[in-house]
């Protein structure tokens, strides 16, 4: 089964090598039906192409752990040095509904920015603002 792609149509995919930085903003709805590994593949495929991936609803802690693990296995000298990832700090548990707490459901809704480690640099981060510098190459 082919893996999910952030970009739908190759014709919409300009040569992003020289002129700019491509940003894929992926909605929560698009991620909803994917397995953990499909989400990680979707993110890493985009990042390894040099894109910035923004997730509307982020990943669960378990998925974040697997993302780090898979990223480590893909790092190779002079090719891919890993990822930079930023999210707002975790929302307080008080934001969860009583039913969510009872059922052990975690709220993972947190905007997440992921990019190639050699192209994205975090300038500032606090509870309300993530400021990043993205270089072209």
């Amino acid at each position: 089964m082919p893996g999910p792609k952030a970009n739908v149509d190759a014709a919409d995919d300009p040569d992003d090598g020289d002129d700019g930085v491509r940003i894929d903003m992926i909605s929560g709805a698009r991620m909803e039906g994917l397995t953990s590994m499909e989400k990680i593949r979707l993110i890493l495929d985009g990042v390894r192409e040099g894109n910035i991936v923004i997730l509307e609803e982020g990943l669960s802690p378990d998925e974040e752990s697997k993302l780090i693990e898979v990223t480590m296995t893909e790092i190779s000298p002079d090719d891919f040095t890993g990822i930079e990832i930023e999210t707002y700090p975790k929302a307080e548990a008080g934001d969860q509904s009583f039913l969510d707490k009872l059922m052990g459901r975690e709220s993972t809704q947190k905007l997440t920015v992921i990019g190639p480690a050699n192209r994205i640099e975090t300038l500032h981060k606090d509870e309300n603002l993530i400021s990043t510098l993205v270089s072209r190459k």
């Binding site: 669960s60 802690p61 378990d62 974040e64 752990s65 697997k66 780090i68 693990e69 898979v70 990223t71 480590m72 296995t73 790092i75 000298p77 040095t81 890993g82 990822i83 930079e84 990832i85 930023e86 999210t87 700090p89 975790k90 975690e106 480690a117 050699n118 975090t122 981060k125 606090d126």
Partner: protein, 213 residues
């Protein structure tokens, strides 16, 4: 049937608890690179077993394999707590061999070190999901704790319901700011220490016994 099931579950929990009490708990020492994890692991191991766990270094990713020191018996308040210490590589989301070149390393050595480091971090993440019963999270109190790796790792530890003790290390250095770490993770208790100098280790051992005993 419900009553019998509940009774059986209760008995099972009690017997499991009795047997589990005899098993050493595996306590993972986690944190970012260069926080002083191996220095702490060595300090604990030397204090209670006389042996070290592994070499320490100021070069990042000196520890590239999780190392275990088994059956470390810590005595506190008349009782003994037995733990296995697992010293893990510093967790990061990126490894670039070029950073090692700044430490007077040849390219081949730097590439090999970075490859081993990536394998070690992947292994550490796997340990965290599968193989540890508690976490000692070590932070360098002279650096900003509000990093994504720290936020993610604490989130992962909390999601696994693992008991976690946060240690603000390197209090012997001039720029140490323990309060900044306490502010970053207010849901956890923060214990200051200098693993290098052995400062405040009494409190660290008391807390280890309390959290993991």
């Amino acid at each position: 049937m419900g009553l019998l099931t509940n009774l059986r579950d209760s008995i099972s929990r009690v017997t499991d608890g009795l047997f589990a009490a005899d098993e050493p708990k595996r306590i993972g020492i986690y944190g970012p690179p260069n926080a002083g994890k191996t220095t702490l692991a060595n300090r604990i191991a030397r204090d209670w077993t006389g042996d070290a766990v592994g070499p320490e270094s100021h070069i990042p990713h000196e520890t590239r394999r999780a190392r275990r020191k088994e059956n470390v018996e810590i005595e506190r308040n008349g009782r003994t707590v037995t733990i296995d210490i697992v010293d893990t590589p510093g967790v990061t989301t990126k490894v670039d061999y070029k950073e090692f070149l700044d430490h007077d390393m040849e390219k081949d050595d730097a590439v090999r070190r970075s490859r081993e480091a990536t394998e070690g971090v992947a292994e550490a993440m796997h340990w965290l999901r599968e193989d540890v019963d508690g976490v000692i999270y070590v932070l360098d109190s002279t650096t900003d704790p509000f990093t994504q790796v720290n936020t993610m790792l604490i989130g992962i530890i909390e999601s696994q319901d693992l008991p976690a003790l946060i240690l603000a290390n390197k209090t012997d250095l001039p720029g140490s700011d323990v309060q900044q770490i306490a502010n970053a993770f207010p849901q956890h208790e923060t214990i200051p220490l200098s693993a290098l100098e052995g400062d405040n280790m009494d409190e660290v051992y008391t807390k280890i016994a309390e959290y993991f005993g």
